[in-house]
């Protein structure tokens, strides 16, 4: 065996390079290619692309690197479904580019945080997490309350996402600025009524919009499915 290797492979760099290329390709091909076919997770019913304001919030979530401390994946264990809600199915992530499952829970999972708390909770939490969550080590994010969102950037995001398969129509992209305004006004109205001062163009409003939809559709879809089959949650 070692003689064969010595005489036929070690003197032939091309043979060695080709052999290496073939061997490193097999595993990836076997594992990844099927996911593009029916062997991959089927899209979950009721999952919709994010609205213009929500996708703007997601871009901020990416920018701030939230995924280095927060996961978005509830594992199928009772201790996790008690703490967070229904466990995460593959099909609920179909419109996630990039995925944000995370690898470390310095803070809690966020896959089901949508509509768990009022908008005002998130407003206070992003300003200073200790106000709502005693003992938290999360940074303060004062700049989210000052920096403003740019609908043109959101349109660029939506256009790029539509090219990778997220079903945004041209009409949706065109009406993004108006849609953002409408959704932001609703959030700001609620916040103002609760005594919190901000305006529609602030990043915090987009972040709240993004966080408040996390897992909402997936949870509804999973619960509807369970109601049909009578399974556990």
């Amino acid at each position: 065996m070692s003689n064969f290797h010595r005489d036929n492979i070690e003197p032939r760099s091309v043979v060695m390079a080709v052999l290496t290329t073939v061997l490193i390709s097999i595993g990836g091909l076997v594992e990844i290619v099927p996911l593009f076919t029916s062997a991959g997770p089927p899209p979950m019913d009721g999952i919709k692309p994010l609205t213009a304001l929500e996708i703007t919030g997601r871009d901020i979530y990416l920018r701030e690197g939230c995924y280095v401390c927060h996961s978005q994946m509830v594992r199928p264990f009772r201790s996790e479904t008690l703490r967070y809600g229904p466990w995460s199915r593959g099909g609920e992530y179909v419109y996630d580019h990039p995925f944000q499952l995370g690898s470390r829970r310095t803070g809690p999972d966020l896959a089901r945080v949508g509509s768990k708390y009022p908008d005002s909770w998130h407003f206070e939490h992003m300003a200073d997490a200790r106000q709502t969550s005693d003992g938290s080590i999360m940074p303060k994010y004062p700049w989210l309350f000052e920096w403003t969102i740019d609908p043109a950037q959101t349109q660029a995001t939506m256009l790029a996402l539509s090219r990778v398969g997220v079903p945004y129509t041209e009409a949706q992209i065109a009406s993004a600025p108006a849609d953002m305004k409408t959704q932001a006004t609703k959030i700001v109205t609620g916040l103002t009524a609760a005594g919190y001062d901000t305006t529609e163009d602030k990043e915090i409003v987009a972040v709240i919009a993004y966080l408040q939809q996390l897992g909402v559709n997936a949870r509804a879809s999973i619960e509807a499915e369970q109601a049909k089959t009578g399974g556990t949650k």
Partner: protein
Amino acid sequence: MSDQNHDKIMGHAADNDGIEEYDNALPNWWVGLFLFCIVWGIGYAVDYHFISHRSQAGYYDVEMAEAAVKWPAPAAGSVAPLTPEVLAEGKEIFTQNCVACHGADMHGKIGPNLVDDVWIHGGTQADITKTITTGVKEKGMPTWEPILGPDRVAKVAAYVFSSKEPPSPSPQ
């Protein structure tokens, strides 16, 4: 193990910038480990998918079914007794989980006032227990039952119920 090997020199040094290599055999235990891991891996995969037909969803269902037997859900409408121990424990649970929104003085902040006469979702002890258990999704009141568990929910509800009449009596 070096004694069992000959330490025979391969004679590769000229090609290896002077680094020589021995013709020593693969350690037996290492070969055994390699084969064991391969056989075990194949056996595990075949068993998991084709013999025992296991799945992570299946494991979860079993875990939940076992828990339902071990810890049956409390009867609907059951409330905790208003004993000093229960109220003291309820107060601690309130301090840890509820003050962020309802305030340490229970006068409300993100969530509503809990010591006035206004009860949006009913003011009996059973009502309060139910509201905490299920939450109020549209108002952002979390569903506390899975997080705290029915036992703690009943205790904190007892504490909130006992605190509602002004002047708020400190339990005993």
